[in-house]
Structures are given as C-alpha cells and as structure tokens.
C-alpha cells in the first residue's frame, strides 16, 4: 500500500490547496507593479483565505484629504473593508465609493474552484460627470473646491477598457498559478516517485536477502550430504577392493587368465571410484573448512619430478612431450606435501588429457611474490604487502578454454564442455578441489588460455623461510 501524506491526497487529485502554495508573492507583485506602471491603476491580490499577496498602489490625494476628516476617514475605512471582503462568484463586481471612484473586484478561478480575487482601483470611470453629491456631504468640513481638485487628479479609465484590463490581468495571474501548480506537481511527483521506487527496492532487497539465506542453507545441506554419503560409500568399497586383492593374490585358490583379467578390471574401476569418493570427501571437508594441512618446506624440483614420473605413462600413450624446468634459486614451498602433489597432479593430469598428439606439457617452478593484506586495484601500493613465494606453472599446448568460461572452471561439478565428460572422464571436481587447496595454503591460482593454442595454470604458494 502506498504511503499517504496529509496533503498528498489533494496533490494527487491534482488540486491547489492554497493559492500561496503555487503563486509566489514576488512574482505576483512584479506583475502588479508592471501593470500599475503601465496604466496607473492600483492592484491588490487576495487569496481565497483572505491573505494579501500583492498590494501595489499610490496614496491618492483625495483619500489622504478625506482621511483628515473624522466622518471621511470612517466612511473611507468602511468602504475599503467592504471591498476587501467581497467574494465575487462568477463575474467581476464593480463596487462604488462615496467619492465617485469605483473598485473592480475580479474572481480568480482555477480548475473550477475559486482560489482568490484581485481588486482594481480606486479609479474614476471616464464616463462620470464630476463627483457625486455624496463626496461633499460625507463630512461637514469638506471644502468642495479642494475636494473637486483632488477628485480631478484620480486615475481615470473608461469602464469598457477597465474590463478588458481586468480580463488581461486575470489571465496573467491564472497563468502564473498554472505554471506554479505545474512546477509544484512535478516536484511533488518526483519526490513521491523516488520514495515509491525506494520502498520497492527495499522490499526486493529483503526478498533477495531471504532467498540468499535459504540458498546458503541448501548449500550447507548439500555439503553435509556429500560428506555423509561419501563416507558411507567408502566403507563397503574398501572391502570390495580388499577382497579383490585377496582373490588376485590367490588367497582363495588359483585363477585362470580370464578370471585374473576380470579381477584387474574390477580393481581398476574400484580404484577410480575410490578416487572420486575421496575427492568428494575432500570437497566436503574443504567447504566445511576443516581440512588439516601438515605444512613443511617442500622442494619444488622433487615435487615436479615426482609428478612427472607419475604422468609419464599417460603422456607417452598420448605422444605428449613432458618438460620440467626449475629456475635457479627457486625457494622451497611452505605447504602440505601430499596436498601439493594433489594440486599439481590434478593440473598436470588435465593438461595431458586435453593436449593432442605431438603436444607438450611443461611443468615449471620459479621465484614469485604473493600480495597480501589489501584490496586489489586502487591504492594497492599503499595497502598491500608482498611475501616471497614460489610460482608453479603447468602449461600445455592443448585445446584451450573459451574466455567466457574461464571464470567458472573452478566451480564444483563444472565441465567446460559436457561432451568431454564422456571423452575424458571426471566429475568436474578436480579444479574446484585444487582451488580450495590453494586457498587453504593462502596461495593464488590464475589461468590464462587461448583457444586452440593451450592453457597456462599458475599456482603461487608461499615460500618456506630460507633457513627451513
């Protein structure tokens, strides 16, 4: 429901509440002055509530003279008061003064409603033949000659012209009201619209916040589920592997060639399954942030050589050349040797998998730096500190990854191309685990790739202290 304010109802009905809200005293006074300067006729503008918004006149000698006489002053005040209180409904009212002058009171109407009036005068209609008898008789002390002299100095205008002038002035003031009202409505609507938009955004944000909480809850459930299921799967699988090994070793009697071959297949597939389940368990632990790292100083060359010898058979099968380069003065890595091996083996395995016949996979290590303790980008020079690190890269000359997909490759279960699952196997967990393991080491992982030319993964990990 839209909030309403006291006057918003009137404003949204598009009505003017008070003349003063839309007509500035300054502008209506300027118009009245200009009118007075042109035609010499006094103008007063009064709101429907009786407030005087503009008053432009010059004291008339006749009025000044009559105000020096007791009865004259009384009659003058009575006339002025009566004129001020006149509220014409449809047309103008011409109100006579005892001096022979007249006042013209013109209603101001806006959108079918009276909003005020203006008073033109006093002036003497040009059609009048001299002052009326009431001028001389108003007070015993009136000097007829003096009164006549002052009467002749009063502003004069023909009634027909006065009517036209009033129509003109009415039109001008009503237009001022119109544009003032327009500006008022525009600004009110602007504020109301902004407020309404804000209210809507707050509501939407709350809804988003709520669904975000729900999603986090679901994500947590998923991790717990993965951990539990993986654990439950591993127990019977260990027995399967154990009994298979026993059969292979001849514990239950000699086997013929076919049986041995079948058992080897069962063992191979069971190992694959165990690897997958271990990955799931790792992921679950990593997401729950309770994977323990046993950190020590690990030699980069030893690490890369071990990886190399593990993947050589696969590389040979695919006719991929393996190259290992360790730069001089590469420091030792401060990490968990088993996990570091897991990280690099995963990357190297992928590299071989996606590199075609005759390609090359290069594993290299060199001195590097890690920036810590500050936001990337603006002001890095001021906030960030660097610490010595080891940069380990795995470079291939394989199929590459589209730029648009690079940001997603570290997501769990993400496969760049679903088709590769069938061709190369894997559940899309490897890189997600790699990323989490690198994070666990307070390191960074970056990837650059060119479609058709190859991919470079760079893992930067903290270096061990020199004396370690």
């Amino acid at each position: 429901m839209i909030q309403d304010e006291t006057s918003a109802g009137d404003i949204l009905m598009g009505d003017v509440v008070r003349l003063e809200d839309v007509l500035s005293r300054d502008s209506v006074t300027s118009v009245s002055k200009s009118f007075f300067n042109l035609f010499g006729l006094p103008v007063r503008v009064i709101s429907h509530e009786g407030d005087l918004l503009a008053d432009v006149h010059r004291d008339q000698p006749l009025c000044n003279y009559l105000n020096t006489l007791a009865n004259g002053a009384q009659q003058c005040a009575a006339t002025v008061s009566m004129v001020r209180d006149l509220e014409p409904q449809s047309g103008a009212i011409v109100h006579p003064c005892f001096t022979g002058a007249v006042y013209r009171v013109v209603p101001l109407v806006y959108q079918g409603r009276p909003i005020g009036r203006f008073i033109l005068g006093p002036y003497v209609p040009s059609e009048a033949n001299g002052p009326p008898a009431s001028l001389a008789s108003v007070d015993g002390g009136v000097d007829p000659n003096m009164a006549r002299g002052h009467y002749d100095q009063m502003p004069r205008v023909r009634e027909e012209i006065a009517e036209q002038l009033c129509n003109h002035l009415k039109c001008v003031i009503e237009l001022l009201v119109f544009s003032g009202h327009r500006a008022q409505l525009a600004s009110t609507m602007q504020v109301a619209s902004v407020r309404e938009n804000y209210r809507e955004l707050v509501e939407k944000n709350e809804a988003l916040e709520e669904s975000y909480k729900e999603l986090k809850q679901v994500d947590k459930l998923k991790s717990t589920f993965l951990a539990t299921v993986s654990h439950e799967l591993r127990t019977p699988l260990t027995s399967i592997i154990g009994y298979t090994e026993m059969l292979e070793s001849g514990a239950a009697g000699a086997l013929n060639g076919g049986q041995t071959e079948f058992l080897q297949t069962i063992r191979g597939k069971a190992d694959e399954l165990l690897g997958l389940i271990s990955s799931l368990l790792d992921l679950g632990r990593l997401e729950a942030k309770n994977l323990e790292l046993h950190r020590e100083a690990v030699d980069a060359r030893t690490l890369l050589s071990a990886i190399g010898s593990t993947i050589v058979p696969a590389a040979n099968r695919r006719n991929v050349t393996l190259d290992i380069r360790v730069a001089a003065a590469t420091p030792k890595v401060w990490g968990d040797a088993v996990r570091l091996r897991q990280i690099l083996l995963n990357l190297a395995d992928n590299a071989v998998k996606f590199t075609g016949d005759g390609g090359t996979v290069t594993l290299s290590a060199m001195r590097g730096e890690i920036q810590t303790g500050g936001p990337a980008g603006l002001g890095t020079a001021l906030f960030a500190t660097t610490r010595p690190a080891v940069a380990l890269t795995v470079q291939d000359t394989g199929i590459g990854i589209e730029e648009g997909k690079l940001s997603q490759i570290f997501d769990a279960f993400y496969q760049v191309d679903a088709g590769t699952t069938r061709a190369h196997g894997g559940a899309g967990l490897g890189l997600s685990i790699v990323k989490q393991l690198v994070d666990g080491h307070e390191g960074t992982i970056e990837v650059t790739s060119t479609l058709g030319q190859g991919t470079i993964f760079t893992v930067t990990l903290p270096a061990a202290d020199e004396d370690a």
Partner: protein, 224 residues
C-alpha cells in the same frame, strides 16, 4: 471521489492507462481541443523533451448540474514506459474509473496485454479491486495499417466485460465517445456505492444528459 458538501462540489478522478505510445496524451489533447472553454480547463502536461510523458498529464473538466451540484472531472494520464511503474501507481491512487488505451496494431498486442496486467497489479497495490472499478477499453490508432480489424473487435466486444471503443485520437475520432462512455460507467458505479441521486437529487440519466449537452457541440466538431 472527493465530496465537498459545503461547496456542493464533487470531484471524480479518471485515469487514462495503457502501454507506451498508445495515445493517452493524444486523447487528452483531443478532449482539450474539442472541449468548450467553459468546461475544459488548461491541459497540464509534464513531459520530457521527446514528448514522452514523464509524470502525468492532467485535464480538469468542470460541469454545472441543474441540481446546483458542481462536478469536477480530473482526467489523468500515466507515463506508459515500463520504467515509470512507481509513478503509474501513484497516479492511479484514488482513481474512480480507468480508460485503457490500447494500440490497435497487431505488433502491439503483447504490449497491450502486459500493460493491462500491470494496471491490475497497480490497482491491487492501491487497494482498488480491479473487478469492481469501472474500466473501458479504447482501441486507438484505427487509421494505421496492420491493425486488428473491425470484425475482430466486434467479436472481442461481444465477449468482453469492458465496453470497447474505437478511436483515432490524433484526429479526435472516438475520443469524446470514450470519455462519455467512461463517465457513464463511473457515474453508475458511484451511484450504486454512494447513492448520489438521494444525496444530491441528481439521477444518472439526468446527469448523463447534462454531460452530453455540455459536450454536444464538441462531439459535432469531432465528427466533422
């Protein structure tokens, strides 16, 4: 509806709704152009440089009834562009009747439907029951090519709960018929809810005769 018993004055708010560029402002311009100067006030438009309605347009119409009651009709348009939804909702506040201006072009059918759903939603958000507020539909731009044919509209009109009008607002055709149609339905509804005849001694029939007689001269101008 606002009633001022002291001033014997009744104000009715009518809103022209519809998709962007369907001709809402054109309807008001035509009414202003056709309307007699003593009935129609100044047309107020709050628009951008590109002639697109920014907040709303407003046209006040004042009618004197023989019962002595003064009736003020306030015609508003809403901004049709999707992004101005908050403003549309604000303008729709306290509306007594709605003229939905649809674009007759076939290509605009989706825009019409979307805007009508938006009208329903915004009425509800304002606490107005879309089932109960008088709504009439005008198919505008009858002079363009590739529009829904008269036969199609006739078939639609038979099934439609809302009365259907046809118009070419830029030329004034059908604009006054739409307006009087909307006033008639709105007045009938207000009569049912507030018993205006009993309170002010003005019957719906007499009221409509007065509306039409005050706009009669203008209707002839539009038909020419």
């Amino acid at each position: 509806m606002q009633v001022d018993f002291a001033a014997k004055e009744l104000t009715v708010k009518l809103v022209y709704y519809g998709p962007a560029l369907s001709g809402k402002t054109s309807n008001l311009r035509a009414i202003h152009w056709l309307g007699t100067s003593n009935a129609c006030g100044e047309l107020m438009t709050l628009e951008t440089q590109n002639d697109r309605t920014l907040f709303f347009d407003m046209l006040p119409i004042s009618l004197d009834s023989q019962s002595g009651l003064k009736i003020r009709l306030k015609l508003f348009t809403v901004p049709g562009q999707v992004m101005h939804d908050a403003t549309r909702r604000l303008v729709l506040q306290a509306a007594d009747g709605v003229a939905f201006i649809a674009d007759s072009q076939r290509s605009e059918a989706d825009a019409n439907r979307e805007s009508f759903l938006n009208l329903k939603k915004n009425l509800e958000e304002n606490g107005i029951d879309p089932e109960r507020i008088p709504i009439i539909i005008q198919f505008n731009k009858r002079d363009l090519d590739d529009i829904r044919t008269d036969d199609e509209l006739a078939a639609i009109a038979k099934q439609s709960r809302e009365t259907i009008f046809k118009a070419v607002a830029t030329r004034g055709y059908g604009v006054m018929q739409t307006l009087t149609g909307l006033i008639r339905e709105t007045w009938t509804k207000l009569e049912d809810e507030h018993g205006l005849e009993e309170k002010f001694g003005i019957s719906p029939l007499r009221f409509m005769n007065e509306v039409e007689s005050q706009l009669k001269h203008d209707l002839r101008r539009a038909e020419r």
